[in-house]
Amino acid sequence: MVVLREGMCPGLDEGLVRDLRAADIKTVEDLVSSDIEELAQKCSVSYKALFAIRRVLLAQHTAFPVSGADLYEELLSSTAILSTGNPSLDKLLDSGLYTGEITELSGGPGSGKSQVCFGVAVHISYQLKQSVIYIDTTGGLTARRLLQMLQTETSNTEEQMEALQRIHIFRLFDIFSLLDCLYSLCSGGLQQASVGGGSAKAVIVDSVSAVISPLLGSKQNEGMSLMIQVAGILKTLAKDFNAAVLVTNHVTRSGSGEVQPGLGVSWSHIPRTRVLLERAEKATAVSRSSVRSATLIKSSRQPCHIKEEFDLQWWSRSQVEPSGKRKLDETDS
């Protein structure tokens, strides 16, 4: 809660703030939750004045209800569905990434998380002509691969360069710089990053677990608090700025050997949609195939545990696409 300061609301002058401090009332929270009558006696202020102050403060710090109809209006006008560019993934995600939501990809090493992120970034920046913020915490981003993916979309060098310029990359390797970056994005950086009006429509964090997991599990619970901070700011980015947030997570094995997303139960509430990526065959780690299977493990739209297979080669396929799908993407946005 906010510290009480003179001039915050009518009637709260310097003398009163001092008196309140003397009565151990420092923040708005303290004032609101205290017994006004008792306080009025202690500080020798009129009950009425304190009551008025409290009402104003409550009004200032409350959240306002919004009617469902208004919300629906807003939803229709502001929500976009950003196609991932891959038909199987789109099918799994109910036609793509929704703005205003956090979508999570989890999977073991080499399961294709980063590849999907690259593909999404390229698709959004080239096909949908929107800016993308790409936060790379593992050093896994290679612009060459992005270019490679773009080359399968178009052979026009100028268009490739334009699309690359719409992808903004941050390389951050610890949680505090990640938080710094996310907060500065919230306070205007998101608009700054985009070119030609509007704000960036997609924020990709690859990977969120790389910076959080070193902090978890020690005796101090600071890590947990920081994790929730990251979650909160990502949600704000998604909701208030209407961006589609895509994060990646690693996996752990439960006692029975089952694969599940990392970062524990607290984190599992954060993403709206979770997708688990695995290598398609159950075979050895030595097998090499670019086919991956994606399982939906949490979603508010589709039945869970539906499974789709897709090929990582999709993004480096040769130019064979019929134009029908492209049109669909554009109407979606």
């Binding site: 090493p109 490679q148 941050f170």
Partner: protein
């Protein structure tokens, strides 16, 4: 959007003091004087000053970002470290990438250390010969650094380059590219346990600042100090932290980080399979994962994980000169799988 004080990098005790004094958001701190803050929150003046400085810095805005185009240009400018095995170079897109972490895993005796030693020599190949002309920091945790082999490889590398000399620039470069200079540009650190390794990695950024020519950091191996560990969750945490340190170091100081890892057996039901050690989480740390393995009497190198390349398998051999391509004329029966691998690499434009 208000930023909570607890999201800044203060020590926990400072955070507790700030929050209990009512300062929950950075906006509460913005217009305070250090003296006032130290009185109100019960901090020392030094602490209060640091808090306020951090707050203003955090409020200043956007950290540096670059567009993918700028990154692409940077990547094009950066050379990779060649391995002297043209097939492996091709599979990796020109060699071991600078600024990234590459892990080499494999069973004992398959050539992990040999490849590391080869890289330690190769990184010093002068720029006019297509190398990067850098120095190398070699952290040896297993005691497997073999000076004799380095001398063999260095001799072979010098001989190879001297055969290539064509112009004056290269002739001049050859005068400083000798076995002695190669050896003197290898900084070797022997770490006996994980504490020494962690401590060394903490000191390394300073070392790299003082030695700006270092282009390669080898840790052979990262697995050995961590194999004997009772507290597995602590091990995971340490390793995750170490991974982030390495990523940051590779990026900031522009070095290629090459680490080696052991293999271990994982039981799944009644089946067992050989997987890289240190657990699944560690697998996210390296950007590229290279698996060296035996197939009969041949040695194969396979890319297990890479964000920029397709999974390929190539064949190599270890000769007295070092890590080289498998001799094609001697092994004609293996031609088929190899050309196949080459084709799939070639189908990736610009890999």
């Amino acid at each position: 959007m208000q930023r909570a004080v607890s999201s800044l990098s203060f020590s926990p005790s400072v955070k507790v003091k700030l929050v209990s004094a009512g300062f929950q958001f950075t906006s509460d701190l913005l217009h305070l004087e250090p003296l006032q803050l130290s009185k109100e929150a019960g901090l020392s003046q030094q602490e209060a000053l640091e808090v306020l400085q951090t707050v203003t810095r955090a409020g200043e805005g956007v950290s540096a970002s670059l567009t993918a185009l700028e990154l692409l240009q940077k990547e094009e400018e950066t050379r990779s470290i060649v391995t002297f095995s043209s097939q492996l170079d091709a599979a990796l897109g020109g060699g071991f990438p600078i600024g990234k972490i590459t892990e080499i895993c494999g069973v004992p005796g398959v050539g992990k250390t040999q490849l590391c030693l080869q890289l330690a020599v190769d990184v010093q190949v002068p720029q006019c010969f297509g190398g990067v002309g850098g120095q190398v920091m070699y952290i040896d945790t297993e005691g497997s650094f073999l000076l004799e082999r380095v001398i063999d490889m260095a001799t072979a590398a010098v001989r190879h380059c001297s055969l290539l000399v064509e112009d004056d620039e290269q002739r001049v470069a050859m005068t400083t590219f000798t076995v002695e200079t190669i050896l003197s540009d290898i900084f070797l650190v022997r770490c006996n346990d994980y504490m020494e390794l962690l401590a060394e990695l903490h000191l390394l950024p300073d070392f790299l600042l003082n030695h700006p020519r270092v282009r390669l950091l080898v840790i052979d191996s990262v697995a050995f100090p961590f194999r004997q560990f009772d507290d597995l969750s602590q091990r995971t945490r340490l390793l995750q932290g170490l991974a982030q340190q390495l990523v940051a170091m590779a990026y900031r100081h522009h070095v290629a980080v090459v680490i080696t890892n052991h293999m271990t057996t994982r039981l799944q039901g009644s089946q067992s399979q050989l997987v890289p050690a240190l657990g699944e989480n560690w697998g996210h740390a390296p950007t590229t994962r290279l698996l060296l393995q035996w197939a009969g009497s041949q040695r194969l190198a396979a890319i297990l994980k890479s964000p920029g390349h397709v999974d390929t398998t190539i064949q190599y051999q270890i000769s007295s000169d070092g890590f080289r391509d498998a001799d094609q004329s001697e092994l004609p029966q293996n031609k088929r799988p190899r050309t196949h691998a080459n084709q799939s690499a070639a189908s990736q434009p610009d890999s």
